[in-house]
Amino acid sequence: MPQTMTEKILARASGRASVKPGDDILARPDFVIAYDFPGYTDVFFKETREEFGVEKVARPERFVLFIDHMVPAAAPKEEELHKMTRAWGKAQGVPVHEREGIGHQVSAELGYATPGAFAVHFDGHVSQLGAFGTYAFGARKGVLESFVSETMALTVPPTVKVELVGKLQPGVMARDVFHHMVRVMGPSSCAFKVVELCGPVIDDMSIEGRQTICGQAMFLGATTMLIAPDAKTLDYVRGRSKIELEPVYPDPDAAYEQVVRIDVSSLQPIVVVPPSPANTRDLMDYLGIEVHTGYLGSCASGRLEDLRAAADVLRGRRIKSGFQLHVVPTSQAIMAQAANEGLIGCLVEAGAFISSPSCDYCFGKIATMADGQRAVSTGTLNTPGRMGSVDSEIYICNAAVVAASALEGCIADPRPYLAHAASAVGSAT
């Protein structure tokens, strides 16, 4: 029977020859991933032991924990939570990766994004492992099932195939592409379904760009999003993958619930206006709105291509006096590479405040806005209060837009700066 990637992965994970949408299955996650956060991991640890009598989790090699929120700790009870996480990991034989970056990115770097694997987390942004052909599901509280048993009960979701065609224009980044998908398809268009993403735009796109798009699947309502592995994927995962699996590809005649084709050739940079990620608009309609702070980072953006784009805009310039530009590379590995490339120096010289990786900027735990302030942000969400006061506003955009807005103190178009940078490079060679 022809199958989608999701169906093949879930068939293998449930020990069946094939599955179809609507089938109730018991699947064995290859990986169980979590970061520590109050009300989540502390509760899972407690319930696993006290409610289910499980003193030691089965097959601890499936598990990986990250400490990426509340980093660095700003209160004793935050550090207490981290201590508990470290102790649990040690007692269970489960690795705890701390201060290495945002877990969804570090998971990929460490090889948990194995093509064809089935991974679970409580947080839906784990869907970005789909960039590597991993079926990565944010099960919310349901991840508890993987702590107390080796399986998880699932209903096989239908798949929506999204084909991105055309060619991206200069200054348009993966971030714009995702929010354009939300605009075209709708914020709940893929509710309880999986998106299989393909097409020449994806073929041409970097691994980082694919991570950006897949990681935001939840804002289409999707359970997760996957891209079939190609040479770039296999090159990335070679030597990293934690387990050996045959990569999985969709059958050419697989049955999709829907096929959506989006031509991105005329796509311009976007801005997602408050109060929700459902509100994609054209950047050009919002130029000139005064902004006070900028955030370049998060599990969605903050990778090398984002830092390079920001550096191209900011090189040799100074951000507007009084503007707060926070640049937070997504992982230590990315930060080190950015330093090697001279990007960190360039951003610092332009006036950026650079932080080691942490999730804390994305939800206003630090760099918190006051009433009436506005941010341009590559964070995941623009809910009022997400980055401080409920009377502050967040405009989501790509990294180059954050950088250009930092120069001008208002929402700005980065393309003139990028064109200048490109011509400077051209004249030098």
Partner: protein, 177 residues
Amino acid sequence: MSLRNLQGRVAWIFEEDDFDIDLIVGVRNIKITDLNELVAVTMTDYDPGFAAAVMKGDLLVGGKNFGYGHPHYPAMRAMRHLGITGVIAESFSPGFFRGEISMGFPLATCPGIRAAVARWDEVQVDWAKGLVINLRTGHALPLQPLSSAERGTLEAGGLVPYLKTRLTSEARPVGSS
């Protein structure tokens, strides 16, 4: 076991589509785990008198894609503590839906509900009949059925008791009763 019907007043109507429930307590408060602390910040941005006005059994009504965003647990934990027994919405965002069903918190998907009720109307969710009934107007709307796992989770009172029962029955040797 059958699912107990819900009956109570509509304590609040979240009119917006794509409503982010973190706003109920304020995003800055999502790390709070103490219920009394949480309740003190619940709905204060909407109606400072909310906590005092709510009675046990009351319900919330939402729009389309209710729970969009990052649906953390504190908002509904606080709502349950105040006596709210369920949410009826035009539709739910999947992450929110999965998360709250796991908590044993009833959610009824009922297209048309937003226009069919006013604040403080008495409504009933009849799971067996598959209807949401406005007891003030007599108007009834169909609700979308739950899957067997969702229903089982709600009947058991949440994922933890549901899993306990399920894992015990799976562990039983084939052929035993």
